[in-house]
């Protein structure tokens, strides 16, 4: 094999290849030239009348999990630059600054962006064409109210769907909350449950540990400093939890405080590693459960399991703790040692072939895990976004269970880590009169095959079937064509005006999904709004209250959700009921006063707005997951049927019996490796030989921030491909490539890098879907290639299970 260096360097991409003779790729400058920056947005003239320099506190409200403080500097009512938190004490952990990442620091370009929606618009061309005409707010709200009434009358409120959208995450008194408050007062809408982030893990782990909340069982990452071994399965806080105050900060702090031996299992050599880890174990996507079983084999064979713990706290490890309902040899030990129904012994050799990890390495890892006391074993949530994601999530938690690394200092349950949260009050949204709920990932099915969907086949909740197909979609700050799997299919379904009759999109920017709207409503950015918000869900042990003071006046004709929902309420004759006589600012003050009554430490709203974030730290007690259960399993029995950790899940045994699954899908009471469709072992690899996974790129948050040229320059969108795979296809670093499978084709640049395992490619999710006339996506949107087929148990999104082929354009 030619060394990859040669391969990459012979390419013309020497940065200052001065003449760029004959080279089509001109580096950043050429890319910048193709960016959608039509013109720099002009700021309203009337805003430029203040003639003063101001600094106001705000925060970045996007769905990265973190939340960071921003200080916006304005001159004459125009944002000039952005700084971040400068409060607290850098030398005292917990009072440290919550520093924003590159996305937050480029926020000014999101506010002054040529894609900004300026006034209400209604569709004039065919749906999806993107042709609109300007209308007044009165016309827009009349239209919206008429459509809501029409759908409720003709079909019922359960034909109205409030779609998933996380582009603005963190509003407490506005945005989605304001919209839902209104819809709950006007008859309700079809619910969904779950989310694209934790679609499998949040429903899988409760079968083992017995609760509903995904982070209910996590230990804080502060426990890392008390452990002797840190094993991370796909946990990548450097790229997914980027705030300089939350998980990655805390992670680094713990690792610097005490150098804990760290092993990371990932297909990519991520930015969490970079030598901070002691060892990277590259693994094929979707095979983590096989690795766990190979490890379990060593642990059992070499007597490294904590038998006393398994006997006392767990159900179904061996014959002794197997419930009566289970078949003979239905226990975990039998499954691993080859006496289970499949008769396959899960030896390290067996696991090596599946995972791509050498046998020796598996045995060594097993011994390390078996001997380290305590060990902190954690998983990220990318690995559960697979066709066998529920199995993987439940399998990984077997390692702390088998070794008894649970409920003690320095341990964790194997779940994602816990985060503290300050309970900043929300605008009361009321209850939805419609009870029926669909899995978040099945909304396109609820448009085209609602009549076939049942609780036992499609995971419907609170109903056995649906009364109606979805006939109206209201999307607040979401990018449903872009971020739902199989974009071409989603687009085709939405284009059919006989299916969904009316689509309203409320957003800041003309996103790929906004093009499918019948009615477009321009939202203010949160820098044009007042709010008090809390830390996100990745703040580590910090709990924070963030003030948000409008830095600039609402631009163009933009209105906040609370504002236009109040006007919409008037059209239903419920304005008073909706507002309770309060303006939005008055709601913020009212709710904050309630929070102050509960927490006497909270500063006054004025002080908060002047001095910046209020920081608290999680109490020492409760930082170790399941500590109470470990100390007293009787009093603190888990929410599982047995009250114990269910390695063998009685509820899954029942579900496996009752549910109808498509060919090839399985639900098993034990956590186990399942070979799925479009895995590396699927015969389809003959046609599409490479696995493609997505990842969270640093250059945007999901699809938010994609339209910022400064970010596109800093983090070039390229598909990661190993030099071996690239060389076999004549692809060089920086080449334009096409990636395709039976679901679509996308175009992007190649990043030929040794930082990914051979046979696998990775593409940052969230790039904007830009189909050309032939339907080929020119935008590098990974969902052109992903499948809408759901996972067996949670009916979730397997968006990292894809087989594809790649070639130079």
């Amino acid at each position: 094999m030619k060394s990859w260096i040669e391969n990459t360097l012979i390419s013309p991409l020497k940065r200052r290849s001065f003449m760029k003779w004959g080279s089509a790729m001109g580096g950043a400058a050429a890319i910048a030239g193709s960016l959608p920056l039509k013109s720099v947005a002009k700021v309203n003239v009337e805003q430029a009348n203040e003639n003063v320099t101001k600094t106001t506190w705000s925060a970045c409200l996007v769905n990265c999990g973190s939340r960071c403080a921003l200080r916006l500097h304005t001159r004459d009512g125009v944002i000039t630059s952005v700084e971040t938190d400068n409060t607290g004490d850098e030398n005292t952990f917990g009072l440290h600054q919550i520093r924003a990442c590159l996305r937050g620091r480029s926020i000014k370009h999101r506010v002054y962006n040529p894609d900004r929606l300026k006034y209400p618009m209604k569709r004039v061309g065919k749906r999806g064409e993107g042709r609109f005409e300007r209308i007044s707010w009165d016309e827009a709200l009349d239209l919206m109210a008429d459509q809501l009434k029409d759908k409720a009358k003709r079909f019922g409120n359960d034909s109205i769907f409030c779609s998933y959208g996380s582009g603005t995450t963190g509003y407490r008194t506005d945005g989605r909350n304001a919209l839902r408050r209104l819809l709950n007062m006007t008859g309700g809408y079809l619910n969904y449950y779950g989310n694209y982030s934790w679609g499998q893990i949040q429903f899988a782990l409760p079968y083992t540990y017995g609760s509903k909340k995904p982070s209910a069982f996590g230990s804080y990452t502060t426990e890392i400093e008390n452990s002797n071994l840190l094993v991370m399965f796909g946990y990548n806080p450097a790229e997914t939890r980027m705030s300089g105050g939350g998980e990655i900060y805390e992670h680094m702090h713990a690792m610097k405080k005490r150098s804990v031996r760290t092993i990371i299992i990932e297909p990519r050599y991520t930015d969490t590693m970079l030598g901070k880890e002691d060892e990277w174990i590259p693994i094929r996507p979707g095979t983590d459960a096989a690795l766990v079983e190979g490890i379990a084999h060593v642990l059992i064979s070499e007597n490294l399991v904590d038998q006393a713990f398994l006997d006392k706290y767990c159900q179904g490890f061996d014959e002794k703790s197997l419930p009566a309902s289970a078949p003979k040899n239905g226990h975990y030990k039998a499954h691993i040692m080859g006496q289970g129904p499949d008769g396959v012994e899960k030896t390290p050799e067996w696991a090596a072939k599946i995972t791509g990890i050498p046998v020796k390495r598996i045995i060594k890892l097993a011994r390390e895990i078996g001997n380290a006391k305590p060990a902190y074993i954690v998983q990220g949530t990318g690995i559960q976004r697979q066709a066998n994601g529920e199995q993987t999530a439940r399998s990984i938690v077997m390692l702390p269970i088998l070794t008894g690394n649970i409920g003690l200092p320095g341990t964790h349950t194997g779940d994602m880590p816990a985060n503290y949260n300050y309970p900043v009050p929300r605008l009361p949204t009321g209850a939805n009169p419609v009870k029926a709920s669909i899995p978040f990932f099945k909304w396109t099915d609820a448009i085209i095959r609602a009549d076939e969907m049942t609780d036992k086949t499609d995971g419907l909740r609170n109903c056995e079937s649906l009364n109606n197909a979805i006939k109206m979609i209201i999307c607040y700050s979401g990018n449903f064509v872009n971020q739902h799997a199989q974009s071409n299919r989603t687009a085709e379904i939405l284009k059919d005006e006989s299916l969904v009759e009316f689509i309203t999109v409320i957003d800041n920017h003309m996103t790929p999904s906004a093009r499918y709207a019948d009615l477009l409503l321009p939202d203010v950015t949160y820098f044009e709004n007042t709010e008090v918000t809390s830390n996100g869900y990745a703040s580590g042990s910090q709990g924070v209250v963030f003030p948000m003071v409008p830095a600039i006046k609402p631009m163009y004709e933009c209105r906040s959700a609370y504002d236009f929902c109040s006007s919409l309420a008037e059209r239903f004759g419920i304005r008073e009921k909706y507002t309770e006589g309060r303006t939005h600012e008055e709601w913020v003050e009212y709710l904050y006063a309630g929070a102050m009554a509960k927490d006497p430490q909270l500063p006054s709203l004025k002080d908060l707005q002047k001095n910046g974030p209020y920081k608290t730290i999680a109490p020492e007690e409760g930082r170790i997951a399941l500590e109470d259960f470990r100390n007293d399993p009787e009093t603190h029995a888990l929410g599982t049927p047995s009250g114990k950790i269910e390695i063998y899940s009685t509820r899954l045994e029942q579900i496996a019996r009752e549910w109808t699954l498509p060919e090839g899908d399985v639900i098993t009471p034990l956590p186990q490796y399942v070979t799925t469709w479009e895995s590396h072992l699927d015969p389809l690899t003959e046609k599409f030989p490479l696995q493609l996974i997505g990842f969270h790129t640093k250059g945007r948050v999901h699809s938010t921030y994609h339209n910022i040229p400064e970010l596109r320059e800093a983090v070039i969108d390229g598909v990661w491909i190993n030099p071996r795979d690239a060389e076999a296809r004549g692809i060089k670093n920086g080449d334009s490539v096409r990636i395709w499978n039976d679901r679509g084709e996308t175009r992007v640049l190649a990043k030929v890098t040794p930082r990914i395992i051979p046979g696998v490619m990775a593409l940052g999710e969230g790039a904007w879907y830009t189909p050309d006339r032939k339907g080929v996506d020119q935008g590098g949107c990974i969902n052109t290639l992903t499948s809408h087929r759901n996972t067996p148990l949670s009916k979730g999104n397997p968006q990292h299970t894809n087989l594809v082929e790649i070639a130079k354009v």
């Binding site: 940065r15 520093r99 990655i248 071996r724 040794p754 930082r755």
Partner: protein
């Protein structure tokens, strides 16, 4: 003169590029001009074993570099106009934007890529150590933005006393060429200047 300089801890840096973007925001830099750049340096090879498993020796680390305000700058020596100069009081290397003709000779001479030509301004621009912020008692915008606290700024002798004086770390050149006022905190993967086992993996991003 107290020479000022940067400390860059590659064992903390995660390559997030917040420094690059905060600098860009504060100094109103357009696309194509980056006073601070984050270089992804890495290499390594993959081998397929007989049983279909893989072995590898991959390494990567990031180096965030702006201007190193060198003790013997190649840019000032090259500059035909004297626009590129070293400030006597603190050794910051600045470009007098009212004098520079935009010949880009400093760009050719500087081995760190610090002088950046502005298509808008038609002359060179570069990291000025945020001297305006320093005058207000603040730190450079990049240092104060770093989420992982991997950057520091101050009298270079103090930084050297605290962190040693390594600057011969790839992808940086041999420091004896220009005597840069920078200290690199190394990580497990650090390779010396002149290393040929790795390469800059993100040439189009810097």
């Amino acid at each position: 003169m107290t020479q000022l300089g940067f400390y860059v801890d590659t064992s903390k840096c995660t390559g997030c590029k917040t420094c690059q973007l905060s600098c860009k925001d504060d100094n109103q830099l357009p696309v194509g001009v980056n006073w601070r750049r984050v270089y992804e340096y890495g290499g390594g090879n993959w081998e397929e074993n007989n049983d279909g498993t893989f072995s590898q020796d991959v390494f990567t680390y990031y180096a965030s570099i702006s201007c190193n305000h060198c003790a013997r700058p190649a840019c000032t020596k090259a500059c035909p106009t004297g626009a590129m100069h070293k400030r006597p009081e603190d050794g910051l290397v600045l470009v007098d934007e009212s004098v520079c003709v935009g010949c880009r000779y400093c760009e050719m001479a500087c081995p760190y890529g610090a002088p950046q030509y502005s298509e808008e301004k038609k002359h060179m621009t570069k990291c000025d150590g945020c001297y305006d912020r320093l005058a207000q008692g603040l730190g450079p915008i990049c240092v104060e933005s770093c989420p992982l606290r991997a950057l520091e700024f101050g009298p270079i002798e103090e930084l050297r006393a605290k962190y040693g004086d390594r600057a011969n770390v790839a992808p940086l050149p041999d420091p004896t060429l220009t005597h840069p006022s920078v200290v690199i905190g190394t990580c497990r993967h650090s390779r010396p200047s002149g290393d040929t086992t790795g390469a800059i993996l993100n040439p189009t991003e810097v």
